[in-house]
């Protein structure tokens, strides 16, 4: 589930690419696949919270992606999304579930769709992590979305540090990414990482800065224009209230 390392100056976001072409051409197709790789788990979480059993939810989710990547039902969601991929996907999923009640979705799977590797255990574990904090299906979806986004960002961040040969340091200092870092002390962390405290503080500072950049970059991939990034971030924070 590794994500491609996108160029820093990503002139067109993945979602604008999909949006503009209706997902029609090859680059748009790749962009859509990429987005689905990151955000399929919240969709599964939503379906589960709608009351479907694991096996059914797995089928419905898989079928949904098959249809999405083949651009079935595509137009139904485009307007509903209002320029936001998250809202688009949820609208489309709801539409899909409504249709699925009338048909046996199991009969429709497959047929030349691109490969999408889905680890259902991962998705279940996401659902567990959402837990009781977001009981409603819509809230669980947003909550799960935020987790998926953060996982993606942290993976990218770790890859970057790994490339610099600093994976160990990364694992020690990532605790400084959150504003409330409980008992974390720079001195202790420095001791564990085997560097002096000043070095560690600088590293933590750089990590935070890079983290903020990456997070915004990733959010920007899912909205129509970059002016919507802060709005989307606020919306995701709402999921934790």
């Amino acid at each position: 589930m590794s994500t491609s390392t996108s160029p820093v100056a990503f002139a067109t976001t993945r979602w604008t690419l999909v949006f503009q072409t209706g997902g029609g051409d090859a680059p748009a197709q790749r962009a859509l696949e990429e987005l689905c790789r990151i955000y399929w788990k919240p969709l599964y979480a939503y379906v589960r919270r709608r009351g479907y059993a694991r096996a059914d939810a797995e089928d419905l989710t898989q079928d949904f992606f098959a249809r999405l990547l083949q651009r079935h039902d595509f137009a139904a969601g485009l307007d509903a999304g209002n320029g936001c991929f998250r809202a688009f996907l949820l609208a489309l999923l709801k539409h899909h579930l409504a249709n699925a009640r009338d048909h046996d979705s199991r009969q429709k799977r497959g047929g030349g769709i691109p490969a999408l590797s889905l680890n259902w255990a991962d998705a279940e574990s996401l659902l567990e992590r959402i837990g009781d904090t977001a009981p409603a299906p819509d809230a669980a979806f947003d909550h799960g979305w935020a987790l998926a986004l953060l996982e993606c960002v942290l993976e990218r961040l770790r890859e970057e540090w790994e490339c610099k040969g600093k994976a160990v340091l990364f694992d020690v200092i990532k605790v400084f990414l959150t504003p409330e870092r409980a008992d974390a002390s720079y001195a202790d962390a420095a001791h564990r990482a085997g560097v002096d405290e000043g070095t560690l503080r600088v590293a933590a500072h750089r990590l935070r800065r890079r983290y903020r950049e990456l997070l915004k970059e990733e959010i920007a991939q899912t909205v129509k224009d970059s002016a919507m990034v802060d709005e989307e971030l606020r919306a995701l924070m709402q999921a934790f209230h």
Binding site: L118, E124, K174, V175, E180, A182, D183, G198, Y211, M237
Partner: protein, 633 residues
Amino acid sequence: MSTTTTPTSDNSPRQSPLDGLDPAGLLRQAAADATATGTTEASAQAFIPPSPEALAALFPQFDILALLGKGGMGAVYKVRQKALDRIAALKILPREIGDNPALATQFTREARALAQLNHPGIVTLYEFGETSGLFFFLMEFVDGMTLHRLLDNGRIAPRDALAIVPQICDALQYAHDHGVVHRDIKPENILLDKQGRVKIADFGLVKLVRSLAAPESSPAAASSTATLILQDGHILGTPAYMAPEQREHPATVDHRTDIYALGVVFYQMLTGELPGRPLQVPSGKVAIDVRLDEVVLRALESQPDRRYQHASDVKTRIEEITGSAAGSEKSTKPKRKSFFEEWYHLGAWKLLTYGALPVALISVPIILWQTSRIMNLSTAIINRADVASPEASTPPAESELYKAALANAEENLRKVKNRHAAGHAPQSAVYEAEDFLAFLKARNSGSLEEAKVKLAANERDIAIAKKQVAGGLISASSLHELETRRSVILWDIERLQKTTTGTPATAAPAEQTLQPDSGDNEALAKATTDWLAFVDAGESLESHVRASAHFRQKVPAAEWQAMLASSRKLLGETLSRKLKSRVTVKRLPNLPDGEYNIAIFESSFSNTKNAVETVTFSRESDGVWRAVGYYVR
């Protein structure tokens, strides 16, 4: 299963990279940045202050009441400190300036120097620190307006200007005496409260922020009246108010750069305009005493050597001019340092911080609700110390009190460290807690020889520190600290000499304690009850008149009134008061030998349930017991 969609056969979930991290916190980390600075591409945009809601997440200890204003160097919010129910001003620095932890130590050092400034004309710094990379200052809240606002409509009446400038001079002189240069004097930083009193804000902030400025940050330089931040992140000052040497060699400026800026502000007050080129004298623009031209021009000299050399010189010259015009007021204004000024000069607040010194505590005529720092640091210790003050003459090593204090100090240090790690306490609090513990431990040695060695070392340190202060290498506060320690060591030596020269330790209290006759006991009890009744009723004048001469001399009635009013507000109504101990001694530090009676009460107030009140009475020459000290904790 479809052959083209390929669910992985592995049914165990991978470990999430979020493992152990709070997702809501991660989002907030980014959100704080979104509101504070924008993204890196947007760093050239103006500083956007966080909304009060965004800030509330970072500062749970405050109610964020309103955004008061913002500038190139941060934003200021009106907040309520929940624990103290105190209104304060919270200043946060733009994240791009503050977020460089490598320089946190330097920040701490600078900020500590600022925290030493205690002057009615300077906005008091309560606290400073860093929360998730965001540097903040908690300051005195001034209910009023900035001089900038006052100058919105152009010039102000010369009479008003002449009332304001000397106050600025006083504050500057005080800061300069303490080795602190403001570096960014301008109307925005000069606050006027509702009584027209001047309070200068952001002392030394420019230098401090420069110490933090990360080279990668690049906020845009703004207009001539906004603080200038260069592309490399260095902050210089505000162009219109900057002395020539500050533009050319910003790192090496001294206090005379403030005098130049003061000249610009003075010019602006008199004429409503900034001085232009060529410089037109103020009296050429408005009808004022031509002698004021000389003051302004001299302050504006481009060569620092040709300016007034001290802020106090500017004030003196203005007073000479105004005095000769409207009869000298000088004689009616005795130059007496305020009590708190003296108190701080003595370094006595350190003694309060090192609260295991009950006698030293009580010797101070009055201590009421000092800064939050002191309250936080030594609450428990002072409590214990107070209750047990009759044991004060026992050598510390053998004293249960000492052990308790040591345990408290260790516990305190642990708590402060945790709070600091959680971002709720500044680094300085940790330093202070460490210092305090080290100080207590150092006192553990009960031997006279060791005390003498300590004294010699201390005196050597003082001698070095004096040279360093003279050379501008360290701030005067460090010297104060050393001198405070010296007085404590001397006190130790005096006590130890007593025990080693054959006076039995058990005899010491007997020698110290007088045996007041029953009439005295009654008189004392009545005096205490009566006096506290006035205090309880908030009768500041009655309680002042009935206090000892020493007390009245140290604390003028108005000051006492203000202290009493603020402390009563914090404490609320008196619910109960129980006498815990009473002791009479002959001698208290910093007071003439005589008869002193120290009464310690366990008291309960509507807002503070478990308080300890210490009331010290002295028998005056007419034989009447009168209050000489009062301390609530």
